[in-house]
């Protein structure tokens, strides 16, 4: 299967297979008016299978969202058919309004106008806690 290469834009590579659609939704890529391709289960020597997203436009992507969903992602910035910049994302220190606190006793369950904020409290174990009630984010909230 061939997907055209892009002239100016962004390629989000090395996405863990099946995470592509989640990233598409999280970055709200459906709102763009340019061409966007999601390739799922692409062959990868390193990963076996991977997803790739190609965006045919230079946009500002939220790196925190990418780092939170999948910290192994590679970002390629393409300009005039050439990759001019390649970098990895990292786990963000803080996540805002991406995940909802599941603690029914948390103030955010009562006051809907509050931002849902999670803080990375343990980098080694990659543990996020709600800023308000300090409840640990559940694993199933991550993807």
């Amino acid at each position: 299967m061939n997907i055209d290469s892009i002239k100016n834009g962004i390629v989000i590579d090395h996405i863990k297979a099946k995470n592509g659609l989640q990233i598409y939704k999280a970055l709200k890529l459906k709102d763009l008016d340019c061409q966007v391709a999601i390739i799922t289960n692409a062959k990868s020597n390193k990963m076996g299978k991977k997803d790739i997203i190609k965006i045919d436009k230079e946009i500002n992507v939220n790196l925190d969202i990418l780092g939170f969903i999948d910290p192994d992602i590679t970002i390629n910035i393409v300009k005039n058919d050439k990759i001019i910049k390649k970098f990895h994302v990292t786990k963000p220190k803080k996540i805002v309004n991406l995940v909802k606190c599941q603690n029914p006793r948390c103030i955010t369950s009562q006051e809907k106008d509050l931002d849902q904020i999670f803080i990375l409290t343990d980098e080694e174990k990659q543990i996020y806690r709600c800023k308000y009630c300090e409840m640990k984010m559940q694993t199933n909230q991550r993807s």
Binding site: I107, Q110, E111, K131
Partner: protein, 244 residues
């Protein structure tokens, strides 16, 4: 506050405040802050005092938020331990009762983890054991020696401090669970027969049945003295926060 010469504005229950009409925490503290110089907030929702502190123009004291934190109780407990034992290190502390929802216990464990040679005996029914995150993130991370048991008498002879807690009805969604656990531990003279002569028995109060009244006159019972330490520490905190 009264002993410091201040006055108190307040309401006895949330139902008589604008909170019952749906007012947000942020709005409440902005309004109250226009009348008062300092706010002490007890709130059933966890994290509400943090929201308040972010929006308030006057200092906010967290007077307990759900099952999350109760910092002034912890300061009270630290002052009690310091005054009764003369130290905050080299102590074997038994924590007994509801260790799952008991916020005072979580805060005290966190505070004591700063001091050297602390040993913990965690006494609870298995359904109300200390949460994993407290064990992993606080106790084990700080390499604190600890034992878990459901028998209050098993290690009572080793303890320097016995911190009793109430099983709190408001933490249970199921009334049957509350009834099952509320009288699980009742400390009485008989159970104290092997305890050290200089044991300090603490309780954040109010107690229900977990300490028998026959213990009250025992000099080791420190829980009413603890109330006085609580008054002093809160006076100190108010002075500190008002910068007077």
């Amino acid at each position: 506050m009264l002993e410091l010469g201040g006055n108190v504005l307040g309401f006895s229950e949330a139902n008589s405040s604008s909170t019952a009409k749906g007012e947000s925490v942020a709005d409440t503290v902005r309004v109250v802050g226009a009348y008062a110089d300092i706010i002490a907030m007890r709130h059933p929702k966890e994290g509400a005092p943090l929201v308040a502190a972010q929006k308030s123009i006057v200092p906010v004291i967290n007077a307990g938020d759900g099952g999350h934190n109760h910092p002034t109780q912890t300061l009270t407990d630290l002052l009690t331990i310091s005054c009764e034992k003369g130290r905050l290190d080299n102590l074997c502390i038994g924590l007994c009762g509801d260790l799952k929802f008991g916020r005072t216990v979580h805060s005290l464990i966190t505070a004591m983890s700063r001091y050297k040679n602390i040993k913990l005996v965690l006494i609870s029914p298995k359904e109300l054991k200390t949460p994993e995150y407290i064990k992993q993130d606080i106790i084990e991370k700080n390499k604190i020696e600890y034992i878990e048991t459901n028998d209050i008498e098993e290690y009572i002879d080793k303890l320097d401090i016995l911190y009793m807690t109430r099983v709190q009805k408001e933490r249970f969604f199921d009334e049957a669970d509350y009834i099952r656990f509320k009288d699980y531990y009742i400390l009485n003279k008989e159970k104290l027969k092997n305890a050290k002569q200089d044991l300090t028995i603490m309780h954040p109060l109010p107690r229900v049945n977990e300490i028998s009244v026959d213990v009250d006159d025992d000099p080791r019972a420190a829980y009413f003295r603890q109330v006085k330490y609580g008054k002093y520490i809160r006076m100190a905190l108010i002075l500190k926060m008002l910068e007077v």
